[in-house]
């Protein structure tokens, strides 16, 4: 009889790593997107290094959204979601833990992969460090906001596409402050900390709004 939160976190992480899990698919998608972009816009290294941070951020956003529609759908398909609703545990905390497990399984690998992909985009060390830091602070917000979309589309058969459309507008602030923090680190007018702290604030807000909104949506979705 171990702590229920730890048990839920462990189960979700195990499921994402085992056969059929979607843990490393996000990183592969991230690598694929960043590799394909120069084929579109040409291998000009100066151009790539200028728009590099933006590419990495957009890649991370899309990679996070990729794995999110299975966040609740997998549980709903086999009846686990009904039992979670009945388990007598605070649903908001359950959603927060599931988002944490998803972030560790999908978000964290993105942050780890970012420096290596920075090399492909010819980013200088300062920009690479800044992108990695902002991704580390920003990807939780992407997962938590995405959870709202996932809970709203859990009843739909092909919720994945709609989820992206619902979530991308909500994720625009995170994207803007993430990229501007990176540019601030490279160019000097704005100090790096200002946009970076706002980014952290966005993540904290998402950590509150996300679970509450998702829990409410899940309760309605169960009938």
């Amino acid at each position: 009889m171990r702590n229920w939160a730890l048990v839920l976190f462990q189960r979700d992480l195990q499921l994402s790593v085992r056969i059929g899990g979607s843990a490393l698919v996000g990183v592969l998608f991230f690598l694929a997107v960043v590799t394909v972009i120069p084929f579109g816009i040409g291998p000009d290294l100066n151009l790539l290094s200028r728009i590099g941070p933006g590419l990495l951020w957009i890649g991370a956003l899309l990679a996070t959204l990729l794995g999110l529609d299975r966040l609740f759908q997998a549980d709903r398909d086999d009846g686990t979601l009904d039992l979670i609703l009945m388990a007598g545990r605070p649903l908001e905390v359950v959603v927060l833990i599931k988002c944490l497990a998803h972030w560790v399984g999908t978000g964290l690998p993105l942050v780890v992969a970012a420096p290596f992909l920075g090399i492909l985009l010819n980013l200088d060390p300062v920009a690479t460090a800044a992108v990695t830091a902002t991704l580390f602070a920003g990807t939780p917000a992407l997962t938590l906001i995405g959870a709202i979309g996932a809970s709203l589309t859990v009843t739909l058969r092909r919720g994945g596409l709609l989820l992206a459309i619902l979530v991308i507008p909500l994720a625009v602030p995170t994207l803007i402050f993430g990229v501007s923090a990176t540019d601030a680190a490279v160019r000097d007018p704005v100090p790096f900390m200002t946009p970076f702290l706002i980014l952290c604030a966005l993540s904290l807000i998402a950590a509150v709004v996300g679970p509450i909104a998702s829990a409410a949506a899940l309760r309605f979705a169960s009938d």
Partner: protein, 202 residues
């Protein structure tokens, strides 16, 4: 869905809900499980903690087995043992079993460390049933419990249900087959003629 449906069940008895297919037996169970919102009326549980909603006192044993194929049998059961919060009630003598004990009792003890994907439909059903034995909750909501079970397992299930009733537990089950249980109370759902129900709504 239901028009002025009222019933009460004493502890130690099983309410057997019968009725034609699609009459709403499952919806009734899901409403009791708190999965379907009540438009009007209340569900009250006497002799239990007031501020906890009734569905936290209930186990729901539906058509879906709620098991993860990628996890092993023991991991699945261990998760539910730790995750679902137990619930006490006045006249309910809670007896819980260890996951291994429950699996052995249901005859799938030898699959404890195998991935659930390797189990047959009947074995998965029994794993889902084991979930009710490892967490103490007074109310068992069971939707077609004997489907996909052979004769021997059906008898074993009835023994478990009797043991639950003997302990002061309470069962609401929707079923087609006759269930030879100790104390049962019948509830038969009839389709109300459409005209009559519209008249009432005006």
């Amino acid at each position: 869905m239901f028009q002025d449906l009222t019933f009460s069940v004493e502890s130690g008895t099983a309410l057997v809900v019968t009725g034609a297919n699609g009459i709403g037996k499952s919806s009734l169970l899901r409403t009791l499980a708190g999965l379907v919102a009540l438009t009007s009326g209340t569900i009250r549980l006497d002799g239990a903690d007031e501020d906890k909603p009734p569905h936290e006192f209930a186990h729901y044993f539906g058509h879906q087995d709620a098991v993860k194929p990628a996890l092993s049998v023991l991991e699945n059961l261990g998760f539910w043992q730790s995750f679902a919060a137990p619930a006490e009630a006045e006249s309910y003598l809670a007896q819980t079993m260890t996951p291994i004990g429950a699996l052995d009792l249901l005859g799938i003890g030898h699959t404890a460390h195998l991935p659930t994907a390797y189990l047959s439909a009947g074995q998965k059903r029994r794993l889902s049933l084991a979930r009710l034995l490892v967490t103490a909750r007074p109310i068992w909501l069971m939707d077609e419990p004997t489907s996909a079970l052979d004769k021997a397992s059906e008898q074993q299930l009835l023994d478990l249900m009797d043991r639950h009733l003997a302990g002061g537990g309470l069962i609401v089950t929707a079923t087609h087959t006759k269930l030879a249980l100790a104390r049962t109370q019948a509830l038969h759902l009839e389709a109300q003629p459409v005209a009559a129900s519209i008249a009432e709504d005006d």
